[in-house]
Symmetry: C2
Amino acid sequence: MKKKTVSSPALLVDLYELTMAAGYFERGLNSRSTFELFVRHLPSERAYLIAAGIESALDYLENLRFEDSDVQFLRAQPALKTVSDDFFDYLRKFRFTGDVQAVPEGSPIFAEEPILQVTAPIPEAQIIETYLLSVVNFETLVASKASRVVRAAEGRSILEFGTRRAHGPEAGVRAARAAYLAGCDATSNVLAGERFGIPLAGTAAHSWTQAFPTEAEAFEALLDTFPETAVLLIDTYDAIEGAKLATRLGRKIPGVRLDSGDLLEKSFEVREILDVAGFSDTKIVASGDLNEFKIARFVAAGAPIDVFGVGTEVATSRDVPALSVVYKLVEIQRGGLREVKTKFSDQKVYSPGRKQVWRFSEGERFHHDLIACADENYPEAQPLLAPVLRDGRRVIPREPIARARAATLARIARLPEGLHALRNAPTYPVLKSAALERLLDEVRELYSASRETTGVGSAQ
Amino acid sequence: MKKKTVSSPALLVDLYELTMAAGYFERGLNSRSTFELFVRHLPSERAYLIAAGIESALDYLENLRFEDSDVQFLRAQPALKTVSDDFFDYLRKFRFTGDVQAVPEGSPIFAEEPILQVTAPIPEAQIIETYLLSVVNFETLVASKASRVVRAAEGRSILEFGTRRAHGPEAGVRAARAAYLAGCDATSNVLAGERFGIPLAGTAAHSWTQAFPTEAEAFEALLDTFPETAVLLIDTYDAIEGAKLATRLGRKIPGVRLDSGDLLEKSFEVREILDVAGFSDTKIVASGDLNEFKIARFVAAGAPIDVFGVGTEVATSRDVPALSVVYKLVEIQRGGLREVKTKFSDQKVYSPGRKQVWRFSEGERFHHDLIACADENYPEAQPLLAPVLRDGRRVIPREPIARARAATLARIARLPEGLHALRNAPTYPVLKSAALERLLDEVRELYSASRETTGVGSAQ
């Protein structure tokens, strides 16, 4: 991307957020409103999701500004030509001034549990919708997939290599962070290393081997330059011959990588070649369209693979490349009253009103969740949503990623054991409080009573 | 993203590109090398791909610089600690100085056809691999999917709305451009409008309707603010009632949107309500997890839908969220000789040597392609690869996106008719020239003859 564009993420927004904000502004509608961001339903391939993208959302909210050039561009848009100058002045001075609650990044979450809850003047709450959905959708997607891969590897290392197949290199950075948060050990994406302090890893490409007159020279050259870290890619021509060649060089070999063919069979053969030749410290790295199912199979077969390199599958969450994330108005303050809101046109109606999610444990394990109205209290359970921004400013410090990762792994370990199954996992129980159900019923009755006051309930 | 990071895309790279570049540098290996970027095989869901991401690649190559802070970060990396200071000086002065050939952006392309062909000193050609793969993979993915959606709509408008489900908002920008290139009519992504001049479009959200005391007030407010462009989202509570309400306002109604339920059935009902009330000019927009198959079904049923809003399916290429793009060394100049290169460890071996793709036509339609050695000539066919960068500088002007889009649509129209089928399309014939086949045989023989000169052929 060009420098100009990326320095102004304010235009990373759907046009309709701005036309609606303009409409609210023109009508003097500035009511404090609460929106909740949640996943409508879990994909059948996922027993749980790992919430991510929250730090990205907070960075955006704290720094959101419209540059003069942005405002000039908007002013020239046909869609905004009927909007008054005052709105463009409003954009020029725009700051996000709202309050945000969020679940801790790296929390296991389930359908209909708010991940973010935004309370702000409605034009502000509207403008931020697109960006928030996009980062939470994608980073949650990757963290959730990575968690499965990490689980399948049963303690073996996972390197995330996906940038080349991510949806643009910027998506690669986001994917690297989300994958690390969920338990991957390192990434190949250098910018993710620089921005977040994630450990970097890499091996060598087939082109390296091909660039030298012989494979032996290629191996020697890599070992000369990186005597402590070189991982020889041995399968450019023939993996078994490549392994034998490596052992004949008379050098220390930190690692070898297999990237094609039957990785399971070859890993055994290569391990034996290495061991017989006295290279029992040499690590075997395997890669090539790996996912949680292939890794689980290798692990179950006792494959002597020390490190898995995983790319496309994690960086695109290939089997589930999108979540049903939505951002819904649940409450609006009008004339001192809080009106709770929902819509009824969907098969599945989302409960109105501000919420809290309570997580109940039994022993070490999480047992079930209860989605309740925000003003309920369940002292025996853990509330998931906590304030993260107040008046547009962070109220929690930024957590180092390594600590967030450790906390994430600890939380995942507390899920009911069955949820770690890669297929046919049981459904984690998520209940709704009686008060929340009652609120929905009340709104539904009001709606039925009169289309002209449709969807409007009054909760004190 | 933070300003700092995005202003320096040089770190949007896999670590191993830099370690390999360092290794080449340390060994004095600076040979001019040719890499080709291509898709290994077409996904079974795609009869053709639309090449995209080329402009992104060229922008990157022309502007690639390592900032001092980038170099400092790299120098501190454990993986690079054995690398000499000279390499970091090299990075500080780094410019891409190579030559690049490419197919025109928006070309239909097939498996194994080079999309980009890079000839440069090998460290340069290596460093750029990750970024090039990432942008070509993703933008081609989206353009290819969008082309199917556009085809299914048979002339009805398609609005691309996918940023909220794209893999981060930056992916949304790339998706918007690729979708427009392939024939979508507008995007919701404002930054894509600003950067590329793509038309912007948008409607309103359910939250808009809910934010007002009544649905009628919400509709009135939108029409007040945007009398010429407002599209009323009529399904917040009940689409049919919403349509009736709209007709009772006594206002001009540019459009209405349906976003839930049975869109086919509802479109007929709503059209009738509008027509009976004299609103035959009011457009109907439909949205809600649409893809090419659903749209084809609506079109076949004669649904009175004027505009389709498509999001997730296009912006993530949901059914095929990654392509098998690779970037392979095919030739290296050494001591005045050109050695051609390939690797044999894969099931499918890519032909060595620099190539050209010749497209043969019969009448108006493309008939077949021939992949040939770069020095062959087929005057009766059209060569696809043409110079785009020479010595790191553009040799073709940047094309306005609207013109690129028109050229793309013209090319797609020239594909054999069967290729437009959404399912079970025939395979477009892609042949290889005798000279190219011979070259592969020669390299294979040399490889069999001696593992020590493995994969090395000499083409004068």
